[in-house]
Amino acid sequence: MLKDNLGLTLCILIALASIGFALFSGDPYYVQVVIWVFTNAVLAVTLRFVLLIGELNIATAAFFGIGAYTTAVASTIMDWTFFASLLAAPVIAGIISALFGWITLRTKGPYFLLISFAFTEIVRLFYTKTEALGGNSGMIGMFPPMALNDYFPAIAVTILAAILFGLYAAERSNLGRVFKAIQNNEDIPRSVGLNVIGLKILCFVIASATVGLAGGVHAYTNSVIAPADFTYFVAVLALAYVKIGGEGHIAGPIIGATILTLAGQFLHSFGPYENIFYGAIIIGALLLVPGGIVGLGARFKTGKFMGRAER
């Protein structure tokens, strides 16, 4: 327990240091990188949150986009205030995900995977064909109010870090345990009278609303959003973060997102080799280090360093 608290304390310290860095660092590029790391960590953690009930949710990318577009519309077309437009993102993402989940979570495994994939691509198609949303070129002009401009990076990092801690708390709560029970064998929670479909939808809505909020933050961070930012590839990268960091613990996706986002900053100069490199890293991590970095640590601790870990 003490050891766990130590880890949590460390995480809180890192989060506070990041907020401080965003507040006082003069270099906008590095501040931007810090926000990217946190955004990607949220994407990976929300993807893993739905993995708790055993479903691979490509629509993470779609709800990230829905959040970003909601905030953009609220801010530039409807002239809502900064915080109201940010708050609209998780609300709309949550409502749409509740509807989508109500229909699709009756299916499992490959069906859910494919339908969430198709949903992501079709939502993206919808943006490109809707003139009011800027079509292919997307939307521009989401700026935080002048008074908040200097503090915006710190606000963004604070929101994103709060999401991470919130999802950690949710996973550790009784609700999180029920989600894991559904993953192990959903007939058992059902046999004690739990509404399994309702709980699955709840898990899905929590993940989608939070990733929608991250999307809203993304809209303000970037000031420009386009349909091409929200392809299924966003979820694929998030999955790569989860796999490389390890899905056994919530720290895994965060570590994975940090490493790969920082590595990605160097890889941008690689041009066509970038995708090859990502592909090789994903395949290598899957086949050689099945438990990810967190899994490696756990194996090291238990002395079972040799041999394949459980996937």
Partner: protein, 294 residues
């Protein structure tokens, strides 16, 4: 009337390629219980090889056009089989029946292979010369002979696969493994070998589709990706793992695309497909012909 016949012809022509593509995907799912997101790369590889070999054969070596297409076709199937064997041997056989693991592996392969194609081939689309020139008129609708041949070849391959799955011993073991892998192993069916055969047949089907498609459309390094989303919709509609379902689903999706694309516009047609999927999921989550557990 002419218009409807023309649209129906389009449907059959697009549909025949969709069917081949989706058949491979559904076969691989049935046998290995994995969703192969890298399936489009087999399609792309075949199309790229056909266009490269034909452009070389016709322009440089002066080989007759139909003969160089034949060489290109066979070569494309061989190369794709080799690629398929390599990715199965080093990758997929370690993630059999592991949905998440295989998804990640196939995404990794998708990035790796598409990146490699782009390096080797470049980003410029290339068209190949017409293998068989000329047009036929059918009930007032005009159709190039090339497209007619494409439909016929695709239909023959589809019938061949149907016979293979339903009339041969290999087909029987493929179906047995898809039904219940452990029971099949208890009957003495070598699961891993059957899985390899299923995977190679699936890859070859994608290669056939790619090699056929290269004759009627410009070839790029991402040509296979466009088919992936639609193929997924097709196999959800038809039922994962169902051969007949993939055929019906492929034709249905082509029908919506062809008619919806003409009377409304292509993106409305795509949205209509999605609505269809949603409605189907509410009514029958396992697909028209699927029998997966709910």
């Amino acid at each position: 009337m002419e218009l409807q016949v023309q649209l129906l012809m389009n449907t059959l022509q697009i549909g025949s390629v969709y069917v081949l593509f989706a058949l491979g995907l559904t076969l691989i799912f049935g046998v290995m219980k994995i969703v192969n997101f890298a399936h489009g790369t087999f399609f792309t590889a075949a199309a790229l090889i056909v266009s490269s070999v034909m452009i070389w054969g016709v322009d440089t070596a002066g080989i007759p056009i139909w003969f160089s297409y034949l060489i290109a076709f066979v070569l494309a199937l061989l190369v794709v089989c080799v690629i398929g064997f390599v990715v199965y041997f080093f990758g997929f056989q370690h993630v059999l029946k592991d949905l998440n693991g295989s998804f990640i592996l196939s995404i990794g392969l998708l990035l790796l292979l598409n990146g490699t194609y782009l390096l080797l081939y470049g980003g410029v689309p290339r068209s190949i010369p017409a293998v068989v020139p000329g047009n036929v008129t059918f009930l007032g609708a005009s159709l190039t002979i090339q497209r007619l041949l494409l439909m016929i070849v695709a239909a023959i391959i589809t019938i061949g696969l149907y016979l293979l799955v339903h009339r041969t011993k290999l087909g029987l073991s493929l179906r047995a493994v898809a039904e219940d892998q452990e029971a099949a192993m208890l009957q003495g069916i070598p699961y891993r070998r059957v899985a390899l055969y299923g995977f190679l047949i699936g890859a070859t089907l994608a290669a056939c589709a790619g090699a056929l498609m290269a004759t009627v459309t410009p070839v790029t390094t991402v040509i296979g990706d466009d088919f992936l989303v639609k193929a997924f919709i097709i196999i959800i509609i038809g039922g994962l793992g169902s051969v007949l379902g993939a055929i019906l689903g492929g034709l249905l999706i082509a029908l919506i695309e062809s008619f919806g694309g003409y009377y409304f516009d292509p993106s409305t047609a795509t949205l209509a497909m999605f609505v269809l999927v949603i409605v189907l999921l509410i009514v029958r989550p396992q697909g028209i012909l699927g029998h997966a557990e709910r």
